[in-house]
């Protein structure tokens, strides 16, 4: 049971002590936001710059291997973006190559590559963020900045519930089969199987809600304003400087993009 909870509850996190790990979660979040904004608002050439930047960060944090491994997640999507857009781009005028009934257009290729590039850059930045940040630390930081601690609790609670519920769902699958439920067969059969499977998950969870609510109330959840925090998330001068820089950078990108709209 421990394995399940740890794997999914800590998510993508890879323990380490690189400089990236030690940055405050909010700093890293702003960094991610910067990459997001830059990738989508700046001209396509900036993608190469961003990619190089992120690769450098990954290497210096010792996460290059993990990063490469994670690239299998969006691999199908990225390939699909390039292929579908290259071959089937509406409004593609300049044909570069004819492949049977289909034609590779320059516009399609450009669009496909740029879209795929943007997605990849955002993906890499997200993954680096997730590799080096514990969800609990992130949430605690956000709470310190004004996010409701009750919402943060909902996220933490959900994160820990998921592996247990998935485990439970597997158990329900087994229990209903032990009552004669068949899970193979025609599509209609499989659809009919949904209610006896989903039903116990939902109902038992709803009943659970009652018990969890009582337990939370017993621990004073949300009873008084002025909740304090046990967990300490480190913040440093460097982090503060970085955050200011990043905010300025994000605003600069946005302004230049809006100004550039008139072109």
């Amino acid at each position: 049971m421990r394995g399940i909870a740890t794997d999914v509850a800590t998510g993508y996190y890879i323990a380490g002590s690189s400089r990236l790990h030690r940055r405050n979660p909010l700093t890293k979040l702003l960094g991610l936001l910067f990459v997001l904004v830059a990738a989508f608002l700046l001209p396509a050439l900036s993608l190469a710059v961003l990619a190089a930047l992120l690769a450098g960060v990954a290497i210096s944090a010792g996460l290059a291997g993990a990063l490469l491994g994670s690239l299998r997640i969006p691999s199908v999507l990225v390939v699909s973006i390039v292929v579908v857009n290259t071959l089937f781009f509406p409004g593609g005028r300049d044909v570069m190559l004819e492949v049977g009934p289909l034609s590779i257009t320059q516009q399609g290729l450009t669009f496909g590559l740029v879209s795929a590039g943007r997605l990849l850059v955002v993906f890499v930045a997200s993954v680096l963020f997730l590799f080096t940040t514990l969800a609990d630390d992130l949430l605690e930081t956000l709470v310190a900045r004004g996010v409701s601690h009750r919402i943060a609790f909902v996220v933490q609670s959900a994160v820990q519930l998921i592996p247990r519920m998935r485990h439970r769902a597997a158990g329900i699958l087994a229990a209903q089969q032990a009552r004669g439920l068949s899970v193979s067969g025609s599509l209609v059969r499989r659809l009919r199987v949904l209610v006896p499977l989903v039903g116990p998950v939902l109902l038992a969870s709803l009943v659970d809600v009652r018990e969890r609510t009582l337990a939370l109330e017993a621990r004073g959840f949300g009873a008084r304003p002025g909740r304090t925090a046990y967990r300490v998330v480190p913040d440093s001068g460097l982090d503060r400087v970085l955050r200011v820089t990043l905010i300025v950078a994000i605003l600069a990108v946005i302004v230049s993009a809006v100004a550039g709209l008139g072109r």
Binding site: G3, A5, G180, V207, L214, A215, R224, T228, Y230
Partner: protein
């Protein structure tokens, strides 16, 4: 000195229920007293506990009358108190360990800090308080463990600790050991002794008065009122299972079965066991000895990595779970894994309907008869229209059991049938075992209740670390 708890003429009635759950109850608990509340399931113990902790009618809606005064006549009426008023003064512990943990913290230490955070205690004071409580309750060794990885008993102790950390002088406990095995229950009992010795006022509800032996005083609740002595329920009419074709019992043979989980754990090591047709066998053993793994081999939920299982000389290899279900009826430990219908009757009929008996001539009547018999055996005939989740946990378990009985199994497998039942429930389950045996069925049960095992079963088989330790041959 102000009286910690003073309940005056308390009446509680939940919406949708015709009768009140508590009727004109008055109790006074003195400072440092350890009061026990005994009563059957449904007698009103939980309602009393919730009311004292200030949950009724604020969190759990109900119409109420009377007063529940905390800390004397001029003190707070728990039923009118705002959420924060009773915090740190009255704490409450429930019976289900896992749902009491906040489910949002990754270490026990942080779990204990959760209540302090909500109280607004300055962070600098938190560690001191947490360490002191862990020391006192003997769980310091669990400090960095992940709460969800602990055993039930350990989780319950952490749950109690997380309440005690908040410093209440009054502690209310609603059947804290109901879902624990004997080791866990003993640990909780020792913990309560320590707290009582330290002067905490304790209100402890249990269905078994024996568990309240260490209390200064015990009050009996029945049907929402305080009674001097509990009326004994009429003994269960002797039960008989007479529906269905006369199935000759099926012999179960386990031949050199080993089972290794994908993560490498060897749960079963070369187990061989012969159970004759119509025999009743109880399997006992500590947690982790492999009992559940073994019985799951019988209906195909798990397959042996070596060896095989035979039902009446026919191996189970290759037969899918839902087909073995026609022969082997499996009652799971947690009814929540199966219940989803809106009434007991529909729930109980689910199994027989799935077994494909519908569609053949006269089968609707057949199913009906099976359902009736199952309801009658489990004493649920009067509750056929009730939503299973509106019943208390012990009767929900009986609903799940009825659902399995209605499948008319040749082999009945029960996973911890006595856990979570009060004494009448345990008695009924025992009578069901006897009745099924009399009808020629083979009954196999996992239990950690030795008294239950020795009383109702022909043979008791002991497992330890995946092996059979003591398996006397079947009685001739």
């Amino acid at each position: 000195m102000r009286t910690p708890i003073r309940v005056e003429a308390l009446t509680i009635r939940y919406p949708g229920r015709p009768l009140p759950s508590l009727d004109d109850v008055s109790i006074t608990v003195e400072r440092g007293e350890r009061l026990g509340i005994a009563g059957r399931t449904g007698a009103g113990k939980s309602s009393l506990a919730l009311a004292v902790a200030g949950f009724i009618p604020r969190v759990v809606r109900a119409s109420v009358a009377g007063r529940v005064l905390i800390d004397g006549t001029g003190g707070t009426d728990a039923m009118k108190a705002a959420p924060g008023d009773l915090l740190g003064r009255v704490g409450i512990v429930f019976s289900s360990p896992s749902s009491q943990l906040s489910g949002s913290k990754l270490t026990v230490r942080e779990e204990l800090a959760f209540g302090l955070e909500n109280l607004g205690i300055p962070p600098s004071q938190m560690d001191g308080r947490i360490d002191a409580v862990m020391e006192r309750l003997g769980i310091s060794h669990l400090a960095e463990r992940e709460p969800s990885s602990l055993s039930g008993g350990e989780q319950q102790r952490v749950a109690i600790a997380s309440i005690v950390t908040m410093g209440p002088e009054i502690l209310v406990l609603d059947e804290p050991a109901a879902e624990l095995d004997p080791t866990g229950a003993a640990a909780v009992a020792a913990l309560l002794d320590d707290l009582a010795a330290a002067g905490t006022t304790i209100l402890h509800a249990e269905h078994d008065p024996v568990a309240l032996g260490a209390c200064d005083r015990v009050v009996l609740l029945e049907a929402g009122r305080i009674v001097p002595a509990m009326a004994s329920l009429p003994p269960c009419e002797s039960l008989a299972w007479t529906v269905g074709p006369g199935r000759q019992g099926t012999a179960v043979t386990i031949e050199h079965v080993s089972h290794r989980y994908p993560n490498g754990i060897e749960a079963l090591r070369d187990i061989s066991l012969k159970i004759s047709a119509g025999e009743a066998v109880a399997i006992v053993g500590a947690n982790g000895s492999g009992k559940t793994t073994l019985v799951k081999q019988l209906n195909g939920l798990l397959r042996p990595t070596h060896g095989r299982v035979l039902l009446d000389d026919a191996p189970t290899d290759g037969i899918p779970v839902n087909r073995l279900a026609a022969t082997v009826g499996f009652a799971f430990q947690d009814p929540g894994d199966q219940l989803f219908e809106r009434s007991v009757e529909r729930e109980v009929s689910f199994g027989p309907r799935q077994l494909g008996r519908s569609g053949t001539e006269g089968s609707a009547a057949e199913i009906s008869a099976l359902v009736e018999a199952a309801l009658s055996m489990t004493g649920l005939t009067g509750e056929r229209e009730v939503n299973p989740y509106d019943l208390d946990r012990s009767r929900r378990k009986l609903v799940a059991l009825a659902g399995v009985l209605a499948m008319d199994p040749a082999v009945l497998v029960l996973d911890e049938p006595a856990t979570g039942q009060d004494r009448d429930g345990i008695e009924r389950v025992g009578l069901i075992v006897r009745a099924m045996q009399a009808a020629g069925r083979t009954v196999i049960a996992i239990t950690h209740d030795m008294a239950f095992a020795t009383r109702w079963f022909d043979r008791v088989v002991v497992m330890h670390e995946g092996r059979l330790v003591d398996h006397p041959p079947p009685a001739a």
